[in-house]
Symmetry: C2
Subunit: 183 residues, 2 copies
Amino acid sequence: MGERAERRRRTEARILDAARALFGEVGYERATIRGVAKAAEVDPALVMQYFGSKQELFRHAVRVVPMAEGEPDPQELVERLLGTLDVKMELPQSSLAMLRSMLTHPEAAASAREVLGQQIDRLAGSITGDDARLRAALMTMVLLGVTVGHQLLELDELRGVPQDEVARLLRPALRALTGPDVS
Amino acid sequence: MGERAERRRRTEARILDAARALFGEVGYERATIRGVAKAAEVDPALVMQYFGSKQELFRHAVRVVPMAEGEPDPQELVERLLGTLDVKMELPQSSLAMLRSMLTHPEAAASAREVLGQQIDRLAGSITGDDARLRAALMTMVLLGVTVGHQLLELDELRGVPQDEVARLLRPALRALTGPDVS
DNA sequence: GTCTATAAAGGGATAGAC
DNA sequence: GTCTATCCCTTTATAGAC
């Protein structure tokens, strides 16, 4: 590609980074095009030029990273979940932006439901029993709650706690949710 | 009091109910004075007249109900927590309004931190060990996560599930978080 | 006391100059 | 291609008529 296109790509990336950061900090409604532009050090009109609308900017900013595939056994599953917690301590800004807005912005809510639903599906496939989906949903909500408290509400009690400490305490609770079949 | 004051009190209550419902549905930023007024079937200016500002209206709408006092043992504690889940299935609209806005509205976030902090304090007092506060925080986050998924995101997997079913599955997980000392 | 009219501010979106 | 200037709508908030 030409240096022109290259420069454009870099500018676009800088705008998206700024958008992710701002959406993640204050949520969809309080984030403004002007604010994103200022953070990215570009003209506000340029943001519109590139993305067409605030909605579209948000859509591009919150590209979600899907979880790893596969159907491990329940034990391994718990470890994998706790692993995502690890990730969530340095949660991708794109996911943070979505989480921040999921309770107030309809599209973010839809996106959250989709992602969480996928995770629930994957979890349910690894659990036996009639209430597998319910258990899977509760496990997902446990992780969501901890993430919200830590990343978004920034509760004092969770600030600066090493990830493996949280994982250690959470492990028995998640195992309890996988069901009675401790093979 | 006179019938004049009585009428005013009723109108004010109707406005507050409408405000709670709207704040709870769409959050602080998307809720408007006009919307509240329309739902309460009053003039928008009247809402301003009564409460002065949107901020103040919100403040009055989200009066939080404190949790029951006392320091029960861990076992009873879990049951009491699960009991609040019961309440949360028909969560007070004032709390719902706060929860809905806690990720995007600074004042709602502060209010949430305060309420959650109080609950964590109370829980921590009933748990032994160095990491009592951390465990208490995680227990609180578990309940928060489930509530968010059920009440705010309205996940299919949690819709229509009887409360005691959720309680049954959550009980072992919460007990695991109270600590190793199963007296 | 209640409502009409309007001011004031903010932000999304657009047209056109350079 | 990038930025200036502006439009236009929405919403909070206020002033004053009835």
